[in-house]
C-alpha cells in the first residue's frame, strides 16, 4: 500500500500522498498481480504474508481480505500462516483493527518510532505519545503476543539518557517483538537536509554505538532474543516473514515498487530472479490492467550473486548461515572450504568478529555491530 497521509521527515520510501485513492482499482490490481505472480512462481504453499507500505492501515480491511483470498485460491495458505499488517498509531482505531483481524491479519507491526512528543514532531509523525500508547494497547488486546513495535534511536540531539528513557518506556508498553532502528539520514529527506544545513546536530558515531549497545544489553536482560541486527523477540515471537528475507527464501513482491526473489517456474524458469515492480502507482496499475503484472525489472541472479546475498543477509541473524542453508545454494563448495581457508574470514575469526563452527558461520556479539565492515572482506574472499 504505497499511500500515506503525510510524508515523514526521515522517509525516502516509495510513498505517495494523494488526495483520493481509487481503492477499488488498487484492490483489483493487487489481486490480479498476486494471482499472476503466484501462478508464475508455482509455489504450493505460502508461509507468510506481509502488508507493508506506505501506510497499509489506511487501506480498507476489504482490500486486505481480497488479497488474502486471492493468495489462498492460487496456493495453499495454511491456517497458521503469519499475516502481518504495518500500522500507524494515527490510523489504528480498535474498530479498524477488528476489521483487519476479521480480514485475516494475525500480526501487527506498529510504527511507534518514539515515545516522546518532541521527537515525534521532529520525525514528522502524525501521532502523539499518548496515541501511540493507545494504539499499542488496542493492538495487544486484539493480537496478543503478535504485536510488534518499531522504535528509532540516534535522532538528532537525542542523548544517551533520553534514549534509555524511551527504551524503558517502550519495554513497559511492548508485547513480545520489538524492532530498534538507528535513524538513517537518507539523502533527499527533510531531516537529512536539516542536519546537513546545520540546523540539527548530526549524532556522533560513538554515541550511536553506545545507544545500540545499551539497547542490546537492556533487551537481553528482559528476555528478548536479539535475532537480527535490529530485531528482538521473546517467547519465540520472531517474524517468520522477515526471517525469509534473511534466509534467502523465495518471496513474491506485489504492488508498486515491491521487490521479489523467486524462480519463475511457470514460464520454465530455473534460476532465481530479482524482480522489481513498477514504482509509480498509476503506471503500475495500467500495466497490471494490461498484462496482469507490473514487473519493471527482472534480473537472473548468478549462483555467485545468490551466495553474496545469502552471506550478506544471513550474517545479520544470530543464527548466521547454517551449513544446511549454504549447501542448498552451494552444493559443491562448503562454508568451511570458502571461509575456513586462510584469508580474510580466518583473520576476522581470529580477531573475534566471526565464528565458524559445526552449526555454521555467524557474527560474534561484537561482530554483529560492525557487520558492514566485515562484509566487503568476506565478499571479496568469496569472489575469489
Amino acid at each position: 500500500w504505497p499511500y500515506c497521509r503525510k510524508r515523514c521527515s526521515y522517509c525516502n520510501f516509495n510513498t505517495y500522498v494523494v488526495p483520493a485513492v481509487d481503492e477499488a482499482a488498487v484492490r483489483t490490481c493487487l489481486v490480479r498481480e498476486a494471482q499472476t505472480l503466484l501462478r508464475l512462481s508455482q509455489v504450493h504453499s505460502v508461509s507468510s504474508v506481509f502488508f507493508g507500505g506506505g501506510t497499509p492501515s489506511l487501506a480498507n480491511p476489504g482490500t486486505v481480505a481480497a488479497v488474502l483470498e486471492a493468495v489462498a485460491a492460487a496456493a495453499h495458505l495454511p491456517a497458521g500462516a503469519e499475516v502481518t499488517l504495518e500500522a500507524n498509531p494515527s490510523s489504528t482505531s480498535t474498530s479498524c483493527l477488528v476489521g483487519f483481524r476479521a480480514a485475516g491479519v494475525n500480526r501487527l507491526s506498529i510504527g511507534v518510532q518514539s515515545l516522546d512528543d518532541a521527537e515525534l514532531r521532529m520525525l514528522g509523525r502524525e501521532h502523539t505519545e499518548a496515541e501511540a500508547r493507545k494504539a499499542v494497547e488496542a493492538a495487544r488486546g486484539l493480537f496478543p503476543g503478535r504485536t510488534s513495535i518499531d522504535l528509532l534511536f540516534g535522532l538528532p540531539g537525542q542523548s544517551r539518557d533520553a534514549w534509555a528513557q524511551r527504551l524503558e518506556a517502550a519495554l513497559g508498553l511492548c508485547d513480545d517483538h520489538i524492532s530498534l532502528y538507528q535513524l538513517t539520514l537518507e539523502r533527499g529527506t527533510a531531516l537529512a537536509a536539516q542536519v546537513r544545513g546545520g540546523s540539527l546536530p548530526a549524532p556522533p558515531q560513538d554515541l550511536l554505538a553506545d545507544m545500540y549497545q545499551t539497547a542490546r544489553i537492556v533487551l537481553a536482560a528482559t528476555g528478548f532474543r536479539h535475532y537480527e541486527v535490529s530485531n528482538f523477540a521473546r517467547k519465540g515471537a520472531l517474524s517468520t516473514h522477515n526471517l525469509s528475507y534473511w534466509r534467502a527464501d523465495q518471496y513474491i513482491g506485489v504492488g508498486p515498487g515491491a521487490h521479489g526473489r523467486f524462480v519463475p517456474r511457470g514460464e520454465g524458469g530455473r534460476s532465481r530472479e530479482a524482480r522489481v515492480q513498477t514504482l509509480e502507482p498509476v503506471t503500475w496499475m495500467r500495466e497490471v490492467q494490461s498484462q496482469g503484472h507490473g514487473t519493471r525489472s527482472r534480473m537472473v541472479l548468478s549462483s555467485l550473486e545468490q551466495l553474496e546475498e545469502l552471506l550478506s543477509l544471513g550474517l545479520r541473524m544470530d543464527e548466521g548461515i547454517t551449513h544446511e542453508r549454504w549447501g542448498h545454494f552451494s552444493p559443491q563448495l562448503s562454508l568451511q572450504a570458502v571461509f575456513g581457508a586462510p584469508g580474510e574470514a580466518r583473520a576476522l575469526q581470529q580477531q573475534g568478529w566471526l565464528v565458524l563452527d559445526s552449526s555454521g558461520l555467524r557474527c560474534t556479539w561484537a561482530g554483529l555491530a560492525v557487520l558492514d565492515s566485515l562484509l566487503p572482506d568476506l565478499l571479496w574472499q568469496l569472489q575469489r
Binding site: 520510501f13 516509495n14 532502528y181 538507528q182 535513524l183 538513517t184 558515531q205 560513538d206 550511536l208 554505538a209 545500540y212 549497545q213 541486527v229 535490529s230 522477515n242 528475507y245 534473511w246 518471496y251 513482491g253 515498487g257 515491491a258 521487490h259 521479489g260 526473489r261 530479482a274 522489481v276 550473486e305 553474496e308 546475498e309 550478506s312 543477509l313 545479520r316 580477531q351 568478529w353 554483529l368 555491530a369 560492525v370 557487520l371 558492514d372 565492515s373 566485515l374 562484509l375 566487503p376 572482506d377 565478499l379 571479496w380 569472489q383
Partner: protein, 659 residues
C-alpha cells in the same frame, strides 16, 4: 591549483599528430593561425627573396612587459600596421597559439613574426620576437633576447612598474640592448602616465621624455613605436660575406617534418641544400627548407646575415636543436656563439596515471608534449601506492599547471600529481655514499632519496631573489609574510610616493606552492612578484615521515625545514584523519622525524557499522554498495594492517595546496 586531474576521461583515439590533437578540442576559429594550418598555408605562395633586406634595414626586437600590461595587444597592432595580418577587431593575442595561453592570457612559448615596414622610403624588415609573460618562463625571455638588439619595455599606465617589469628590464639591460619605454593603456580612466614616467626615470634612469604614451588597444601612437624601433635599435652587426653562423633560439616539433628550429643569422647565408653542422652535437644535416615567420611559416629562397627565421633540416628530436646551439656550414667551422644557460627545473612533482592501465597512453602523451616543451625534465619513477609514473621537473608552479592543463586539453589525459618539491642538495660525508653516487654532492628531487643526516655534512636548499612591488599600505603585512617564509630582506626602495619595491632572498620551497596567492590576497591583488635564481644556501633540513600505526607512508614523506616540521606534521595528520575511513581497530596517525614523533592524531575504531534496515526492498541496493566496497578492496593501499583508499593521499596533498 589542481593536483589531481578531473574525473578520468575517456582516452580519446590516438591522434596522428599534435596538430590534430590540438585542433579537435580547441575549436579554434578558422581565422586563427593555428599551428596545423601553417603547413598548408605556406604552400603555393611565392618564395620570398630575402636578399632585398640587407643588414642595415633589419631590426630585431622583443616586447617585454609585466603580465597583462598589453604586450600581446601591442604585438597584434604591430602585425596589423605592417600588413602582416589583416586588420580586424578579432585579432587578439595572435601570437598566443596555445589554448592555455588564450585562456589564461599569458604567453608560454616565445613566438616570432617578421614585419615589413616602409619608413622614409626604405623597406625595413622588423623581426618581432614575442616573449613569455610569466616569471616561470624568464629563461625563455633571456633566450629570445639573445637574438635581439633592442626591446620595447611596456608598462601599464595605470598599474605602473611591477615586479616583472623590473626583472625584464634588467635582463635586457644586462644584455646591453636598446630599450624603448612604452606606457600603454593611456585610454584607461585611471591612467597616470606621468607617474609611470617618473617611476621609469627613478628606477631605470631613463629620461621621462623618452617614454612613448600609447594605447595598443585603440592603436594610439603605435606607429610612433615602429619609428622608434627603426631609429633607436641598431641593426645587427654582421656580414653576409662571412661564413654561416646561426643561433638556435627556439624549436618546435612537427610530426611530419621533424624539428623546426628558430634561428637568428649572425653571419653568412643559408638556403635549401646547404650542408650544416651543429656545433653542439657535431651532427651533420642537409637543409630542407628555410623561411620567415609572418607569423605563419613562409618559405624563402635564402636567409641572410641579420635575419631571423626558421629552418628544417631533418632533425628528428628537439634535443638535436639545442637552444643556444650554433649552426655552421659543413667544413667551414666558426667560433660558436656563447650559449645561454639552459632551463633549470625549479619544481619537481611525481606524475602518475589515475589508472595504471593508462600508463602507456600517458607515456606517449608525455613524450609528445615534451617534444614541444624541452624545459620539462622527465625521470621514470614509481611508488608503491601510485604505481609506475614519472618525476617531472618544471620551471615553476605555473609551468607545472600549464603542462598539466595541456595534457588534459590537448591529449585528454587526467593524471595524479604529487606535492611539488624543490631540488635540495646534500653534501655527503659518508665515504660509502660518495662511492655509490660517484660524487660528494647530490641533488635530491624525491624525498624517498633523502640521505640520512649521519652521512651528510651539509644540506643545501635552492634560493631565489624575489622582487615585490606593492602600494606602500601593504608593506607591513608583506614583511610579516616574508618573515614567515624565512626570507631575508635585501633591499627596500620607494619607486614613487606610494609604491615600494622590496627585495628578499627566499628559500625556494617557501614560495613554490602558495606564496603568490598569499601575497595577492593580502594586498587585494595589488602587489606583484617575480623572482630569479639565487643559488643554494645551507639549510637545516629534515625528512618528515608520516606513520600509520607505526608504518611509514612512503609517498607522504616530505623534506622540510626543521622549524616548520611540527606545524606541517600536525596539519598532515589532521587531514589524514579526515580522509582515512574508520576501521575495525584504532589507527595512530603520526608525523615523525627519525624516531621522534612530532604530531599525532588518533582515528578511533568503528564500534558500530551496520545498516539498520535490510528487508526485501533494500537488498538490491545494499548488495550493489557492498559489492562496490568489496571491489574497492582491490584498490586499497595497505600500510601495515591499515587500508587506505588510493585517492586518500592525493586528497591530503591536494588540499595542502588549497590552503
Amino acid at each position: 591549483m589542481a593536483l589531481a586531474g578531473r574525473a578520468v576521461l575517456r582516452w580519446g583515439p590516438r591522434l596522428p599528430s599534435p596538430c590534430a590533437a590540438a585542433a579537435a578540442p580547441l575549436c579554434r576559429p578558422a581565422w586563427l593561425p593555428a599551428a596545423c594550418e601553417r603547413r598548408y598555408s605556406s604552400r603555393g605562395k611565392e618564395k620570398l627573396d630575402m636578399s632585398m633586406y640587407p643588414v642595415e634595414s633589419i631590426r630585431n626586437f622583443s616586447i617585454i612587459a609585466h603580465v597583462d600590461h598589453g604586450k600581446s595587444t601591442l604585438a597584434d597592432r604591430l602585425l596589423e600596421i605592417t600588413g602582416t595580418i589583416s586588420k580586424t577587431d578579432r585579432n587578439k593575442q595572435v601570437l598566443d597559439k596555445l589554448q592555455v595561453e588564450r585562456e589564461r592570457g599569458i604567453t608560454v612559448k616565445a613566438q616570432s613574426a617578421s614585419l615589413f615596414y616602409n619608413h622614409e622610403g626604405i623597406n625595413y624588415l622588423l623581426n618581432l620576437i614575442d616573449t613569455p609573460g610569466h616569471v616561470d618562463f624568464s629563461y625563455e625571455v633571456s633566450r629570445s633576447l639573445s637574438a635581439c638588439q633592442g626591446v620595447i619595455l611596456v608598462v601599464d599606465a595605470n598599474e605602473g612598474i611591477q615586479a616583472q617589469t623590473v626583472a625584464n628590464f634588467y635582463l635586457a639591460f644586462e644584455a646591453q640592448l636598446s630599450i624603448i619605454p612604452v606606457i600603454n593603456k593611456i585610454d584607461l580612466k585611471n591612467a597616470d602616465p606621468e607617474r609611470v614616467e617618473k617611476q621609469i626615470e627613478k628606477l631605470f634612469d631613463i629620461p621621462t621624455d623618452e617614454c612613448i604614451r600609447i594605447s595598443a588597444k585603440q592603436g594610439t601612437n603605435v606607429e610612433k613605436v615602429l619609428q622608434k624601433v627603426i631609429e633607436k635599435i641598431p641593426p645587427p652587426q654582421c656580414n653576409t660575406a662571412d661564413p654561416l653562423k646561426a643561433l638556435v633560439f627556439d624549436s618546435t616539433f612537427d610530426h611530419y617534418r621533424g624539428v623546426v628550429a628558430n634561428i637568428a643569422l649572425f653571419g653568412g647565408e643559408i638556403a635549401k641544400g646547404h650542408k650544416i653542422v651543429s656545433a653542439h652535437t657535431k651532427k651533420r644535416y642537409e637543409v630542407n627548407e628555410v623561411g620567415i615567420l609572418t607569423p605563419n611559416e613562409q618559405p624563402t629562397h635564402k636567409l641572410y646575415a641579420g635575419q631571423v627565421g626558421y629552418l628544417i633540416a631533418g632533425m628528428k628530436e628537439v634535443a638535436e636543436a639545442q637552444i643556444g646551439d650554433t649552426l655552421f656550414l659543413y667544413k667551414q667551422p666558426v667560433e660558436p656563439l656563447p650559449g645561454f644557460k639552459s632551463a633549470k627545473p625549479m619544481v619537481f612533482a611525481g606524475m602518475y596515471p589515475i589508472d595504471q592501465t593508462e600508463y602507456n597512453n600517458l607515456k606517449s602523451a608525455l613524450e609528445r608534449l615534451t617534444l614541444n616543451d624541452s624545459s620539462v625534465t622527465v625521470h621514470r619513477d614509481s611508488s608503491l601506492a601510485l604505481g609506475a609514473g614519472w618525476r617531472l621537473g618544471f620551471l615553476g608552479l605555473l609551468h607545472m599547471e600549464v603542462f598539466n592543463q595541456r595534457l588534459e586539453q590537448e591529449y585528454n589525459m587526467s593524471v595524479i600529481l604529487t606535492a611539488p618539491t624543490v631540488p635540495y642538495k646534500a653534501v655527503l660525508s659518508s665515504a660509502k655514499l660518495i662511492k655509490e653516487y660517484g660524487k660528494d654532492q647530490i641533488t635530491i628531487i624525491n624525498p624517498a632519496q633523502f640521505p640520512d643526516k649521519l652521512s651528510v655534512s651539509e644540506y643545501l636548499e635552492p634560493t631565489v631573489l624575489g622582487t615585490i612591488v606593492t602600494p606602500h599600505e601593504y608593506i607591513g603585512k608583506i614583511i610579516t609574510l616574508c618573515q614567515d617564509r624565512r626570507a631575508v630582506q635585501k633591499d627596500m626602495l620607494y619607486i614613487d610616493e606610494n609604491r615600494v619595491m622590496l627585495k628578499y632572498l627566499f628559500p625556494l620551497n617557501e614560495i613554490v606552492v602558495d606564496f603568490y596567492d598569499a601575497l595577492k590576497s593580502l594586498s587585494s591583488g595589488y602587489a606583484s612578484f617575480d623572482y630569479e635564481d639565487a643559488g643554494y644556501q645551507s639549510a637545516d633540513l629534515i625528512k618528515m615521515d608520516i606513520l600509520l600505526n607505526g608504518n611509514p607512508v612512503e609517498e607522504l614523506a616530505t623534506i622540510i625545514h626543521n622549524d616548520k616540521a611540527r606545524a606541517a606534521g600536525k596539519l598532515l595528520c589532521e587531514r589524514l584523519k579526515e580522509t582515512i575511513p574508520r576501521q575495525l581497530f584504532e589507527i595512530a596517525i603520526q608525523a615523525a622525524i627519525g624516531k621522534k614523533i612530532i604530531a599525532r592524531e588518533t582515528l578511533k575504531a568503528y564500534r558500530k557499522n551496520v545498516v539498520a534496515k535490510c528487508y526485501g526492498g533494500d537488498i538490491t541496493r545494499r548488495m550493489k554498495l557492498l559489492k562496490r566496497q568489496a571491489e574497492g578492496k582491490r584498490l586499497m593501499r595497505k600500510i601495515g594492517n591499515v587500508e587506505v583508499p588510493r585517492d586518500a593521499f592525493i586528497r591530503v596533498l591536494k588540499r595542502e595546496t588549497d590552503k
